[in-house]
């Protein structure tokens, strides 16, 4: 932890630790530099990318890309949370550091719509290539869900009067990023 505060003082925003995880936040545009430092610095040596996940905090809030790293020199998992703007979710790719991030990033693009620039293969991986939406966003809703739901409208997503359909009106083909 001390090492982290020394080396990354300009980038760290929020350091938090638990008995087995150390976590900090960074800005989305700096992820390559920070991860490269973590991977290649000999006393940090986070050689393994265990997980790359995307989190959507709601229709007005941010996206986050969360990387979990492991080092044999440190006993805790390291969690790097990269903050992204929801309106402009573009972040550099880390496939240069770990090739195994390719499928992670494809999944994050497919499910959330986060675009990884520099990724050589940013296609949809789970849904069909002509799918027009991003399923794991918080505002993703299927219109026939409400009718089938046994709760019949307790969840605001199940109440059609709370939907804002204007955002679907100009939906363009989303199988190809930009």
């Amino acid at each position: 932890m001390r090492l982290l505060t020394e080396r990354l003082a300009t980038d760290l925003r929020d350091l938090w630790t638990d008995e087995d995880t150390v976590e900090f936040q960074i800005d989305g545009a700096r992820n390559i530099e920070v991860l490269r430092l973590l991977k290649e610095a000999p006393e940090l040596d986070f050689f393994m990318l265990a997980d790359a996940a995307a989190v959507d905090y709601g229709p007005g809030e941010r996206f986050e890309v969360v990387y979990h790293l492991y080092s044999s020199k440190h006993p805790a998992w390291l969690r790097v949370r990269a903050h992204l703007d929801r309106g402009d979710p573009i972040v550099p790719t880390v496939t240069g550091l770990w090739e195994g991030a390719m499928f992670h990033e494809r999944e994050m693009y497919d499910m959330m719509g986060i675009v990884f620039e520099g990724n050589r293969d940013l296609r949809r991986i789970y849904m069909s290539p002509d799918y027009r939406s991003f399923p794991q966003r918080r505002d993703f809703v299927l219109p026939d869900d409400a009718a089938d739901s046994p709760a019949a409208g307790v969840n605001p997503l199940e109440r059609p009067e709370t939907w804002d359909l204007a955002r679907f009106r100009d939906a363009t083909d989303t199988s190809q990023p930009r």
């Binding site: 849904m127 069909s128 290539p129 002509d130 399923p135 299927l142 869900d145 089938d148 739901s149």
Partner: protein, 221 residues
């Protein structure tokens, strides 16, 4: 009509039809619209008659043919997910469906009789699965194994799961369970044997409307 109508206003009686089970069927020329239904004996053929379709009376040769079909149903190797493991477990040594003739799980749909849809059907896989079903030659049957294929199962409100395989293809036997025990699948197969022998089920009543599509374009997804 009242009973004491004068017979002159009625149509002449059609020629007497043969009794069921005796001799060949002879349909006389002046037969009425229900002539084809008459020779069927309800006890022998539980489904009764078919409007507009010619169906043969189950004779002994037909019974043997149905036995042949039932006792060597070759399944198509189409395991999608967890139910596939239970299907494989049914096919291997402890619960053995080889004793029912179903040992060869054919890889090619052209050689298969039964499509046991084992596992969750997703919207992406629905296209290939229906194409497999169409490639299977008649007679063919479909068994929906597990709750995911019966009705969507535990993935009821998912955005990418087809809520039951009967939304895309006709199903003969539904085997519930998540996953069904091998004994359950074997019971389902025994029910399918009954279907085959009684010529119930989807294929024998399938009206051939011709090819459903004329080209394969636009079919890549």
């Amino acid at each position: 009509m009242a009973v004491d109508q004068p017979t002159s206003t009625q149509a002449p009686d059609p020629a007497p039809l043969p009794e069921p089970g005796h001799g060949p069927i002879v349909i006389p020329d002046q037969a009425g619209p229900d002539a084809l239904l008459r020779p069927f004996d309800m006890e022998e053929h539980p489904q009764g008659g078919f409007h507009g379709l010619l169906e043969v009376i189950p004779t002994k040769a037909d019974y043997v043919l149905d036995l042949i079909r039932a006792n060597s149903l070759w399944p198509l190797l189409s395991g999608l997910s967890c139910c596939a493991i239970e299907m494989m477990s049914t096919a291997t040594s402890v619960n053995d469906i080889d004793r029912f003739g179903m040992f060869p799980f054919r890889a090619s749909p052209r050689q298969a009789d039964v499509l046991i849809v084992a596992g969750t059907l997703t919207t992406k896989m629905a296209g290939p699965l229906v194409r497999l079903w169409e490639q299977m030659p008649e007679p063919k049957w479909c068994v929906a194994m597990g709750t995911c294929t019966t009705s969507g199962g535990r993935f009821k409100r998912s955005y990418s799961v087809v809520q039951g395989v009967d939304r895309v293809m006709p199903v003969d036997v539904y085997v519930p369970g998540c996953p069904p025990r091998p004994e359950g699948l074997i019971y389902g197969m025994m029910k399918l044997h009954e279907l085959v022998k009684q010529r119930r089920g989807e294929w024998s009543t399938y009206v051939d409307r011709g090819p459903q599509r004329t080209n394969w374009e636009g079919d890549v997804r």
